[in-house]
């Protein structure tokens, strides 16, 4: 697995994982937003690959997908954005997150090669569960790219090992059964889930879905290895468009402060 991803979770504090959609509002505007995430203190960047049918996403990220595709974003643009990011930020891990069809449409080998060429560290494919790993996983692993899987409140102890098998980088714990950006989970349920998952997982666990503010992120950072924030950042892009970099940097900075200063109780 990627050294950059390992390092991001070995800083002595919880990692802040920040999501924005590539090409939102335009392909040209994304680089400045990504720079703002790094400047604000994000430890891992998740770059969303827009898809016409984002069925696991709530309204905020659905609209981001539509804005991006409406601005003419192509897969080639996303890979170029990633490659340019890698040139500017040699140490910040970059993860692509999206849906199976755009990732596999030119074949898994093509996609894994393109990711490797662009300096991408990990791939989260929402609709490839472990049962369909052969669709993409082997090709990513062969290139040293981490397949990052999701675990959810419906992933029970019997199923968890299958989810972890073949995944690396970190485990993305989706704290509520639902779509992105809607409700958030109660802290005690997250804490129970962390205890349960950490009994099996040997890779870091980041918690996401419904985390919008430093006040929410801080307490989660005490029990998890990382905190994922997405829809709140995407909402800022929706509001400020091509001028979103500065408000994004401010929110990330406040989130990073809360996440980095929270005392981790679980090693």
């Amino acid at each position: 697995m990627s050294a950059r991803l390992s390092a991001a979770f070995a800083k002595g504090h919880a990692a802040l994982v920040c999501f924005v959609t590539a090409g939102d509002p335009t392909p040209d505007a994304t680089s400045a937003i990504l720079d703002a995430l790094v400047e604000g203190g994000a430890d891992v960047i998740e770059l969303g690959m827009p898809f016409t049918d984002p069925m696991a996403d709530g309204p905020a990220i659905q609209l981001a997908n539509l804005r991006s595709l409406g601005a003419g974003t192509r897969t080639a643009d996303i890979l170029r954005i990633a490659k340019d990011f890698r040139a500017r930020h040699p140490d910040t891990p970059l993860v692509l997150m999206g849906y199976a069809n755009p990732m596999t449409t030119r074949g898994p080998e093509w996609f894994a090669d393109a990711c490797a060429d662009a300096g991408i560290d990990g791939v989260i494919c929402v609709d490839i569960p472990p049962e369909e790993d052969a669709e993409l996983g082997p090709w990513l692993r062969a290139k040293g790219i981490s397949p990052i899987r999701l675990a959810t409140p419906t992933t029970d102890a019997a199923r968890l090992p299958a989810v972890l098998d073949g995944s690396s980088g970190f485990l993305y714990y989706v704290s509520v059964a639902g779509i992105t950006g809607k409700q958030s989970a109660a802290l005690d349920s997250i804490e129970q889930a962390m205890t349960r998952i950490k009994a099996t997982a040997t890779i870091p666990v980041a918690v996401g879905f419904g985390v919008r503010t430093p006040e929410q992120a801080g307490p989660i950072a005490r029990v998890a290895d990382g905190v994922v924030v997405g829809s709140a950042l995407v909402d800022l892009v929706a509001e400020h468009g091509v001028n979103a970099a500065e408000p994004v940097r401010k929110l990330v900075s406040a989130l990073a402060e809360a996440v980095h200063s929270a005392r981790k109780e679980v090693a």
């Binding site: 049918d53 069925m55 449409t105 609709d127 959810t152 419906t154 029970d156 059964a177």
Partner: protein, 404 residues
């Protein structure tokens, strides 16, 4: 047993839900445990004579099965070739084949202790069928329907509401069937504990394509027995329209291992295959959407394109995975007909047989119109008349320039 025969076309999918390279379970992790539960429960139900007996009883006394097998004498004479026969699934309660599947799935939902039903609908036929079985069993029902379709299918929206369903207009995307399916999946992910998703066609994640096919196979099982009893032989050619493909797979599947029976699936060519259409096999390529791998209309980046057909029931950019496999295996042939050809066939059947077909089977009839004259007079052609046209008279009038 067919299931043990390696040369059978009837033993798909494999134990992981794949039809060759197609099918599978491409869903978010939240849904995976539920899909696995559903598969287990379906296996138990399939082996349970009481489940089958209740399904059969409801089909007979509530849906009105078996549906007739009808020889169409004037259409046969007009076309001047093969004998044309119809499987009359348009005579079912609610007016289409959709109800067969809804009965099966709601019995499964009840078996699994689910207390809330959701479904997607395009033209509204599956929504009406789902709302119907929910009323029959007293379960709350939420139907997701693209806002565009809500506007153009007002009578079916009213029917669903009369039956007690809540109809949620979906404004995302082009606000049609595929967007309604996305929204139904989003609702399901957020309500997995109590909700059962009744998918309307033989697509989606495993085990849906298999179980929808099995429930719809009543069409082909009846037709096969009826044809043997009436003529002492099997038909030479089966014809059925395809959107997702549930009526076609329901007719075809029981005949797949009869080598003398040829089969033709008819996709919607819309304005023409070089323009806007909904023919995924003719104009698409394999990809992953809505839980399964199948032929999809998509651009080179894998972004999904909107389908177009005069028939809202065929207006979907994908197709059930078993059809994708049957195409690649060569067992079934697929063709397509345009909006205009379907409209002509619609009027032809009205005029020659006194039957107003839905626009979906009008596509099958258009193919029959082309093929029957090329076949000998002793050949038997059987088409699935999978829905009646009451719902379509407004759309047809508009296309014919008649104001009602």
């Amino acid at each position: 047993m067919t299931a043990q025969n390696p040369n059978s076309y009837r033993n798909q999918p494999d134990d992981r839900g794949h039809f060759g390279q197609f099918g599978g379970r491409y869903v978010a992790e939240t849904l995976m445990p539920l899909i696995l539960d559903l598969e287990q429960e379906y296996r138990r139900a399939k082996a349970d004579p009481a489940f089958q007996a209740e399904f059969d009883d409801l089909l007979e006394h509530y849906v009105g099965r078996p549906s007739p097998l009808y020889f169409a004498p004037r259409l046969t004479e007009e076309l001047g070739g093969a004998q044309v026969w119809f499987k009359r699934d348009e005579l079912n309660h609610t007016g289409a084949h959709k109800i067969n599947n809804c009965i099966g799935q709601i019995l499964l939902a009840i078996r699994m202790g689910k207390t809330r039903i959701i479904a997607e609908t395009g033209a509204g036929q599956h929504g009406v069928a789902t709302a119907t079985v929910c009323a029959r069993f007293g379960l709350p029902c939420v139907i997701f329907m693209g806002a565009t379709d809500v506007a153009r299918q007002a009578p079916n929206v009213f029917r669903m509401k009369l039956l007690g369903a809540e109809v949620v207009p979906v404004t995302a995307g082009a606000a049609t069937l595929k967007d309604a399916m996305n929204e139904a999946l989003r609702d399901w992910v957020a309500n997995v504990h109590d909700t059962f998703y009744i998918i309307g066609t033989a697509a989606g994640p495993h085990p849906y394509p298999e179980l929808v096919r099995d429930f719809q196979s009543v069409i082909g099982k009846e037709a096969r027995a009826q044809m043997l009893s009436r003529t002492g032989r099997l038909p030479d050619l089966l014809v059925a329209a395809i959107g997702g493909g549930s009526n076609a797979i329901g007719l075809f599947h029981p005949f797949l291992d009869d080598p003398s029976v040829k089969m033709l699936g008819v996709e919607a060519a819309g304005h023409g295959l070089d323009k806007e259409h909904a023919a995924s096999l003719a104009g698409g390529r394999p990809g992953i959407l809505h839980g399964n791998k199948t032929y999809l209309l998509q651009d080179e980046d894998g972004q999904i394109l909107e389908g177009h057909s005069i028939s809202a029931g065929l207006d979907y950019p994908g197709i059930g995975p078993e059809h994708a496999w049957l195409k690649e295996s060569g067992r079934v042939e697929y063709t397509s007909v345009t909006d205009t050809e379907a409209l002509d066939a619609f009027q032809l059947l009205c005029r020659t047989e006194g039957i107003i077909p839905a626009l979906e089977p009008s596509h099958a009839i258009a193919a029959v119109k082309k093929i029957a004259p090329t076949m000998p007079k002793d050949a038997i052609l059987l088409a699935n008349l999978c829905g009646r046209g009451d719902k379509d008279i407004f759309a047809v009038a508009e296309h014919l320039g008649v104001s009602l």
